[in-house]
Symmetry: none
Subunit: 119 residues, 4 copies
DNA sequence: GTGGTCTAGACCACG
DNA sequence: GTGGTCTAGACCACC
């Protein structure tokens, strides 16, 4: 569990890769400080072109979730704080987006909650 | 409220138009059976290229939310049942998507609810 | 003047492109709010592969110096404040780097200044 | 002070080693004619792969700043003149590079000087 | 015509 | 074997 990569056609693959790798980092599938599979390995695992993997990893590096140690590979940041923050950030983003959607449909928070409870 | 159209540059404008028009129909801003503004008017209101408006309306026709009466214009369907179903459908889609996201982050429904209640 | 692009082999071309475009923006060769040449045009001007141009522009977008208006092209940000800040930022970076180098060589600021004045 | 070696991951380590060893020679930390630590020692001190140290020293030999005396090790050149020239050369390079950067940003030498004086 | 994405494949520097 | 860069060329969505 935790190692599959599935893509759909709606979003660019590299963005989906960013999301899924971020998730795996947040959930500890790739723990803080651990070495990521090499670009080429990831390309094999995900069945995606190495350039595309590279691009996704570059984004993760931009967000400081991943650091590159030249010639020895790419690693998850060892800054656990940052990972936690990312977790919170993503959570907030999703929940806020959800509530916004609900608002657009004129549905109150209470209705949402009772709806969820019934499920 | 209810007549503004706001677009961002991330998603195709015609899709955003579809969404926003659907919303207005669902919420009764454009009630069942009522006449929609003409393509040209909508283009003016939304400050969008008429072709784009056309494309969005075509999609809405495809979903049977809008019907064209030749010579007199485009109208919201008068099938109230269909509108209600659409409402439920959209609601379900959003909530399910939300719950799926939560699941990916390993967050239980209960946690979500308590999180929402705190807000 | 101001429109040539020259590259050397020490640094990646896309980074040099980022630098040179940034300069042109800062200096007003490409003023705030103005449209940039299209990716393909820039590729022709610079004699570089369009993908490489794309990559450089993506970086500039990441720094919010450039914004993309879908289908109509890429534009310099119209936030003049941001451009000024970038100017200051770059200036500071260069000067600080320079002073650091001088420090490593045990050369005082005063010596530097008198050296510059002689030139 | 004078014996630490610090590397960042942006530039090749061997180049950084070359720079830092050159500095130490110029500043007299390793005086003209003195014996350098052995490759292995340097590797330990710098926590760098011996191959990398070897490569850096080879470059310094190429510049005639370091000479190998077979069987007894590597020594800083005893040609003090050469060391002084190297000093000047490096200085010139840095200052010229700096002035070039300033020129690109349309900043006159006078402005630079007054800027430095304020700091 | 605009930008965006992806692939395939090659070459390089590094350690 | 690691990542980084670049090219050529193709295809897509959008307006």
């Amino acid at each position: 569990m935790g190692l599959e990569f599935i893509f759909d056609d709606n979003k660019p693959i590299y963005k989906q890769l960013v999301e899924q790798l971020t998730q795996k980092i947040i959930l500890g599938v790739y723990p803080a400080g651990s070495k990521l599979p090499s670009v080429r390995e990831l390309a094999l695992i995900t069945k995606v072109n190495p350039n595309t993997v590279q691009r996704a990893l570059a984004e993760l590096e931009g967000k400081n979730l991943v650091v590159t140690k030249r010639t020895s590979g790419k690693f998850v940041t060892d800054d656990q704080e940052m990972i936690k923050n990312m977790h919170k950030h993503i959570l907030k983003e999703i929940v806020d987006g959800f509530l916004l959607d609900m608002e657009k449909l004129n549905i109150s928070k209470e209705e949402v909650i009772s709806y969820l409870q019934e499920k």
